[in-house]
Point group: C2
Chain length 218, copies 2
DNA sequence: GTCTATAGACTGATAGAC
DNA sequence: GTCTATCAGTCTATAGAC
């Protein structure tokens, strides 16, 4: 209370939290160590004292942020106790809450994924396939065989689900500008999507896909 | 032919094209004027001779790229001679071709939109509304009144269309890694989406939305 | 128009006092 | 652990020769 400046947590934690904010909003190259020093309220030299280098600090932040983003995505697929549609509803519900709390996360992760795709495997440990993938593939196949869902490539579904959930946060400044909404109004629309996206996905999966070169006469 | 180096077009055009490639793949901060000099094969000093400053060159590239991205989006809405569904089909078809030719465009534009949203209005001249918006709003309202489409907020539809079309290009490294596809195979899936996205959108728009707090018994 | 050389400013990192 | 002072390297931009 009587200290020069009031902070939460240790100096190291303050730097890390400030670095997360600055790195995720400006990226590695546009961020100066002086920005992080100012944002955290600590002396410039302490950043190197605690984290050795700007690059090292960035990698720590980056791995944590990418994992936060991806674990929720793979979490969509990993629970073996629920049906495909149920795990979709639960996952999207939690995911939209997480995105409202971290609106800058998707664009940061997408940049990292595009600029340094090798880090996905090397630093984050995000390999080609995992147990969750195999399970969801089995579940998917069974439903397709039973005729409960349309025979489309799972990547199309995954793309659509993640796109409809995540993209409105990436393009928020564009879509909000276009519709003249406030941040609060926009977030309320995102909350509506918790119910709408699972409904749309279910609709897509259960409506017959038109044959190529045939008019759609349903 | 007998010149020291063989180039296409004028020095100025070479610099500009190289700058487009480097800026769109690395962003403003991570790009050095030396990178552009090397990429274009011209002397470092000529960049300032032709474009005065790195920032000025960036702004020229940025405005062109954002317009390339946005004109196709607003072009979805602007043709008064076609139905809603038809203009959707045509626009998505052309847009996916453009994205396959410019896969790095969406992430570049999304970064600009997130980091400098004021440039949308100040430099690109992308205002809140235009004639096309008013027309599509009228068309939308008529179809809703006639019961031809579900009464959902147009922003949900726009978000979904743009998301399903654009997001697979933003998340390409992630989704490709996950599915173990080659670039060629991935692009073929994008071409499939030319037919699939309009079909999905039509399905979404014509399937009744479940009432809140009521179980979906269709 | 094109080149070399360099000015002038900024950045990441550290030495050394406290 | 925290601070000040500063170094060494890099960057954009330009002066001036050709």
């Amino acid at each position: 209370m009587a200290a020069k400046k009031q902070h939460n947590g240790s100096t190291e934690a303050q730097i890390k939290e400030a670095a997360r904010r600055v790195f995720t909003s400006k990226g590695f190259a546009a961020t100066r160590t002086r920005d992080i020093a100012e944002e955290s309220g600590v002396n410039l030299a302490l950043i190197n004292y605690y984290f050795r280098s700007k690059e090292n600090l960035y990698n720590i932040i980056m791995v944590e942020q990418v994992q936060l983003f991806l674990h929720s995505v793979t979490g969509i697929l990993n629970d073996p106790t629920t049906t495909l549609f149920t795990k979709l509803e639960i996952a999207i519900d939690h995911y939209i809450d997480m995105l409202i709390a971290n609106p800058g996360l998707p664009i940061f992760v997408m940049n990292e994924v595009n600029n340094n795709p090798e880090n996905l495997v090397d630093k984050v440990g995000f390999g080609n396939h995992n147990a969750g993938d195999l399970f969801i593939a089995k579940q998917w196949l069974e439903m397709t065989m039973a005729g409960e869902i349309q025979p489309i490539h799972p990547l199309h579904l995954i793309s659509n689900v993640v796109a409809m959930t995540v993209f409105p946060f990436i393009a928020a400044p564009l879509l909000r500008n276009r519709s003249g909404m406030s941040v609060k109004e926009y977030n309320e629309m995102m909350l509506q999507r918790k119910k709408l996206i699972p409904h749309w996905v279910k609709t897509i999966l259960t409506t017959p896909v038109p044959e190529p070169n045939k008019p759609d006469r349903s």
